[in-house]
Symmetry: C2
Subunit: 405 residues, 2 copies
């Protein structure tokens, strides 16, 4: 007997027929002799509608009230699944976040889980019952409903799996696993049977939208066996696990890309110690996350500085940089929001040289200009013009031997 947390996303519970299908997938695990707790998202589209209501009421809505409103979508789906499971002769009971309880901090709209009360759930599972838990939500220390931010149901599921010491956390979604790269762009993309937490974390934060980044962080921290699989096709998915659980490891596991960044270039900065702090301090204060940074000397005593910021924060970033002009003397401020960040990811890089070099050659051969480079222990990222996205992804996928055979 294993204890399993099954999580189903919005497209998997989009209508009654699909929730019925979810009930069948739950029953299958029960019939196999397992204990199951289920975590659900809202029907796809419902949360967007509720968010739209709040914005219509007031674009500067109170986030505590927003949380009360948008959390109702999950309360509906968990109740309906409990009814369907009962109709199949199973024992089931729905739980809103406050009923579990899933205790969070009071950061409404982006709350973090503090702890989960598991006593009742474990007792119920031991008695053969299936708890069906509303994802995305919890209860703050002030007794108000909180939500965990978009995609937060993944985090709910992983946190619940960790708290219940579940043997596995299965994330059912509308894709059937994690691919070497976006299959819509690279038809030769392959589904990975296994991927390490570290790689999945980079994939998620670099634009692969299969899992919420925070849920992967949490799975890594608590060593939760995470599986991504399709709720529509009964085929093996991708297991997110420790490096030692992967026997044959490729050097590079995947190629990710993100269109969420914008490039800012400050030209002709008078070069002296402290200018980086003078530039990036005010951006940090404005809560703008600076990602890739390069600095190079342009002319005598002057330097050029290029970096990326989230595309949605670009207007604010430019405003901040205009304001610091009286402190940091520079000649020109340019920006571009037609760039894409392409990243090559793999834990094998730690032990293999030449991974970055292969990337630069592959791009150079196709005449693709690299604007900025940044590297970490297990990834190399480059910023290129957006129009080269598809070409770059296909070239790199082939160069690293990832193409399906």
């Amino acid at each position: 007997m294993a204890r399993i947390v099954q999580k189903f996303g919005g497209t998997s519970v989009a209508n009654m027929e699909r929730i019925r299908n979810v009930a069948r997938l739950v029953k299958k695990e029960i019939d196999a002799g397992n204990q199951v707790a289920v975590v659900l998202s809202a029907m796809s589209g419902v949360t967007n509608q509720l968010v739209a209501y709040c914005q219509e009421a007031n674009p500067l809505y109170d986030t505590a009230e927003y949380d009360s409103v948008v959390s109702t979508g999950e309360q509906v789906t968990v109740g309906l699944l409990a009814i369907l499971l009962q109709a199949m002769g199973l024992k089931a009971r729905s739980f809103a976040g406050w009923q579990v309880p899933i205790r969070t901090d009071d950061a409404h709209g982006r709350a973090r889980i503090l702890d989960i009360g598991t006593e009742e759930m474990i007792a119920r599972m031991d008695a053969g019952e299936i708890p069906v838990v509303a994802g995305f939500q919890g209860i703050g220390t002030d007794g108000r409903i909180t939500t965990l931010g978009r995609g937060g149901s993944d985090t709910s599921a992983v946190a619940l799996a960790a708290a219940l010491q579940a043997d596995r956390c299965d994330i059912y979604t509308d894709v059937d696993g994690v691919y070497t790269t976006d299959p819509r762009i690279v038809p030769k993309a392959r589904k990975l049977p296994r991927i390490t937490y570290e790689e999945m974390l980079e994939m998620a934060s670099l634009g692969a939208k299969v899992l919420q980044t925070r849920s992967v962080e949490m799975a890594m921290k608590h060593r939760v066996n995470l599986q991504v699989l399709s709720s529509f096709e009964e085929i093996p998915g991708t297991l997110v696990c420790d490096e030692e659980d992967i026997v044959e490891k490729e050097i590079v596991s995947g190629i990710a890309y993100s269109r969420d960044e914008a490039k800012v270039t400050i030209q002709g900065v008078k070069d002296h110690p402290g200018i980086a702090a003078a530039l990036f301090g005010p951006l940090a204060e404005a809560n703008i996350n600076v990602d890739m940074i390069v600095q190079n000397v342009s002319e005598q005593g002057h330097t050029d500085m290029t970096f990326t910021v989230p595309r949605t924060d670009l207007p604010r970033a430019l405003k901040v940089l205009e304001q610091v002009r009286n402190v940091v003397d520079y000649r020109d401020l340019n920006h571009s929001d037609t760039v894409v960040k392409v990243s090559v990811i793999g834990v094998g890089m730690r032990t293999h040289a030449g991974v970055a070099q292969k990337m630069f050659s592959a791009l150079a051969e196709r005449g693709i200009n690299i604007l900025v480079i940044s590297t970490s222990e297990i990834k190399v990222s480059v910023l290129i013009e957006e129009e080269y996205t598809e070409l770059a992804l296909r070239a790199l996928h082939t160069a690293y031997g990832l193409d399906a055979r």
Copy 2:
């Protein structure tokens, strides 16, 4: 300064524009220097959709899960109103039933309120805040969400007004008050400025759908000053109050009608002591409410028995009566579901004779046959063929001098 509970029904919060209008009506009371607590229904249509989901999942749904699902509609509207009130510069906070808490028994789907925790709400109102409370719902002793039955938001509002010792409970709806009879049928119907609890109770239970019967019972018990008024037009409504608060009292206040009944006639029952018990006992056991009853001797040693049951229970009632045939010997079982109950209501009847006689004459003059009669201290009801409904209502309205001048 007065303390007021304002309740707005589903059509009053049907969309954002209308919720904005509700916010204005709340602000008006605050600007007048009053303390206000608000109770809301779900957007009209939403609860029906949620009920339909449950029925689609399983017609024999678990009522505890049903309650979790259908209670979400009110959670949305209270959050949105709180956001709108805040946008107007007012302090407001939404409350789901469990957050107040509104404690109920565990009779899911038709729970009764046990008590309401008012400490936090009073503290908030004293601090100038407006609590916005989800109607229709509470929390059972088992920690599960409960609902109070359709129209339950009226009861939530009255119970809250009683608990808060409010000076007034204003029920805003899509009609502008209580009329002498249905204005869609009798154009000369007049809006009553005041009506007694007892009369309102009869009106509500006899088919005037302005207020949920249970809410009137509760208002009467706790002497809550109840006002019914329109959320769309700023004109005076109807005050439901004690008899002594009404200076000029008509003998008859209103004429109500109900198409919810069906007539059952059992012919040729062998008459002996105990047959009524033998007939009505099994109906009571089957939870079928028998309303009007007449018995008359038909032939030597035999009797006919006519009574009414709720139209929706007619098939079950007939089944029960077929089954008792081996105990109660009768010749024939007839039924009709094309009948209507018309009632003349007024506390003045207690002190004035001839009210019933006037009713019988008015109907007889129009050639309307009375099938069954029942009377209470403040009402006379007759069962007639449904096709005479309009004719009867207009005739009675004129006969009792209720026509608008």
